[in-house]
Symmetry: C2
Subunit: 367 residues, 2 copies
């Protein structure tokens, strides 16, 4: 087997993890390979605060009585060199005198300098950047580099880009199968949905995760609600106030010092800047709550505001077989600014998927 094949095995291990169980950590897989090419230890990071992939793989190899001094360690991510909830993996590698380490992606965290430290201790390190390994940790990389959650913006549009008619009615642009896809994949992957009080009140949406033949699952909800409309008594019957055991509703407002007795409702106070919330501060508040990936499900105005603030990483659009011939129907991005073709937001096409007669297009935003 080649180095790429061992890294591929480590990649397949890495992605077995439940992303929500490891937050805010990255996916990592590791394999220890003996002199004669046999895999003698395997592991992947499974739970935040518990063993790293390297530790598991090395311990498995030791359990087999392997002489680590002649082995190679393949690990999908640069080993950590700092003490977090667990001690640095570089120490373990050095301690067991593993002579060769092959790495599939670098850690963007500036506290991590695993490659340098290993080399300083005489370990031969090969860095083989594998794009699919880097992509697996997209959320982690965005969290580390941009110091904010990864934001995915989801809409269902008519062929001509409308998300609702001029009365605000959006039921239903997309088909049932597409709506199921949102629950099963997009909401399931997210740590929270971001929306506005207006959308919540207008649509009376539950915003949880409903998958056929499975119990309903809770999901955190971040609501831009400057005037705290959702705290008003007449709105307490809204579907988002279902009984929550572990998830929260985060109401984002610029008001300060407000408390609420509503269970599982938390108020995040953020100052306004030029009529908009200071998103830098919101990003920090969300990461502090271990919200690393956010699904934006909102109206055209919030979509445009987030895009303007360069706080959208990917755009997932269900393009549905319908045309709304109405210039005042609601646009996917409702912006009062003007933008020339040369200044248009550029996207990178990722993939398309046919769902009945809808097409789901996934794009990455090029900021």
């Amino acid at each position: 087997m080649t180095a790429e094949k061992y890294l591929q095995r480590a990649f397949l291990l890495a992605r077995q993890a439940n992303p929500k169980a490891i937050r805010p950590n990255p996916f990592v897989g590791a394999v220890v390979v003996s002199e004669n090419g046999e895999i003698v230890g395997e592991g992947f990071h499974q739970q935040s605060g518990e063993a790293h992939a390297e530790v598991m793989a090395i311990h498995q190899a030791l359990d087999h009585g392997t002489k680590l001094e002649t082995c190679t360690l393949y690990v999908t991510l640069e080993p950590c060199s700092h003490t977090g909830k667990t001690p640095p993996c570089t120490d373990l590698i050095i301690q067991h005198r593993i002579p060769n380490v092959v790495i599939g992606s670098l850690d963007p965290n500036p506290l991590v300098s695993g490659v340098r430290i290993l080399e300083e201790h005489g370990v031969k390190v090969d860095v083989l950047i594998i794009p699919e390994i880097v992509a697996l940790n997209d959320t982690f990389n965005i969290n580390q580099i941009l110091k904010r959650p990864k934001y995915v913006l989801k809409s269902a549009i008519t062929l001509n880009g409308k998300i609702a008619d001029n009365t605000g009615n959006s039921k239903w642009i997309s088909n049932e199968e597409s709506r199921n896809h949102v629950h099963q994949y997009l909401r399931t992957a997210a740590d929270a949905i971001l929306t506005t009080a207006k959308t919540v009140i207008h649509d009376n949406a539950t915003m949880n995760i409903r998958i056929k033949d499975q119990p309903e699952q809770e999901l955190n909800l971040i609501v831009f609600d400057r005037n705290l409309d959702l705290l008003k008594k007449e709105n307490h019957q809204h579907s988002i106030f279902y009984k929550r055991n572990k998830s929260f509703i985060y109401l984002v407002t610029d008001k300060t010092g407000i408390k609420t007795a509503l269970p599982n409702v938390d108020i995040i106070s953020i100052p306004m800047q030029d009529g908009r919330f200071n998103l830098e501060m919101l990003h920090k508040e969300l990461l502090a709550r271990n919200i690393c990936q956010v699904l934006i499900e909102a109206g055209g105005s919030l979509n445009a505001a987030m895009m303007d603030a360069k706080a959208v990483d990917e755009v997932y659009t269900f393009v549905c077989p319908r045309i709304l011939m109405d210039n005042v129907a609601i646009n996917q991005f409702r912006s009062s600014q003007n933008q020339t073709m040369d200044n248009a937001v550029k996207l990178q096409f990722l993939e398309s998927m046919t769902i009945g007669e809808d097409i789901l297009l996934k794009h990455k935003v090029i900021h």
Copy 2:
């Protein structure tokens, strides 16, 4: 071989024809099969005014010395029973005492009653409607049933449904490969492009067919030009006035009695109705000129007007990796009316095609 297989063979023959050579006729293929299942004659309609498929297949069978009295004729379309440019095919079938005829689609032309006439003469007729055979003659069927050309509306849009920025600039939303596709497939399939004087003047477009490594080809152009702006001297340098040998520019206006000395420019006078051209009259004028399939390449207003008038059969949309965050950027359909979700134009998804980072979506309009 089963009846379906022989019809499939006839279908493959039928679609060998160049659609522009047979206009306004349908694609037709025919095979004569002997008692022992052998194909003894084949033919397809190749040129308007020349032999029909049945005639070719029967004559080929006769050339082989086949006894037609024991054969079956498989033909993709109900044989004609009226005298057009050639005598009725039903006569030939009856004359040669072919006992069995299997038909893959019915002729929507009310003058054609081939099945009835054959049966009256003791021919056993099986009608096996094959959807792909019906679809092959989509243009012919629309021409016959709706008494108008088939209209295909093509646009290149940003992900959010804009065809140009607020200055009218649309260069370039779609990529080069998509633009090549328009020439090689969409324009090549059309008998004419329909556009407006405004688009012609703004874009200075040539609107011919340019395919790599091939000489440029002419294409008829229909221009909505109420005020005959294109006849004004200052506009004579526009690219559409390239030297034409066989194609025409048709200027559509409500002015009457206007003549022009410009070569290959024809004026179609059509009255206005409620501020719009009477399209019923335009349809007739176009069919009279053997324009059976039209590609609409225009701005949002003409797109909306044609859709409103139920004069769009298919919508081909290149969805491109860009977002124009501007509410006054130009919509694919620019309509001053209001339309609720329930009244939205319904489409049937036909197919999608990835072209670089663009996606071409094809939809049929459900009127």
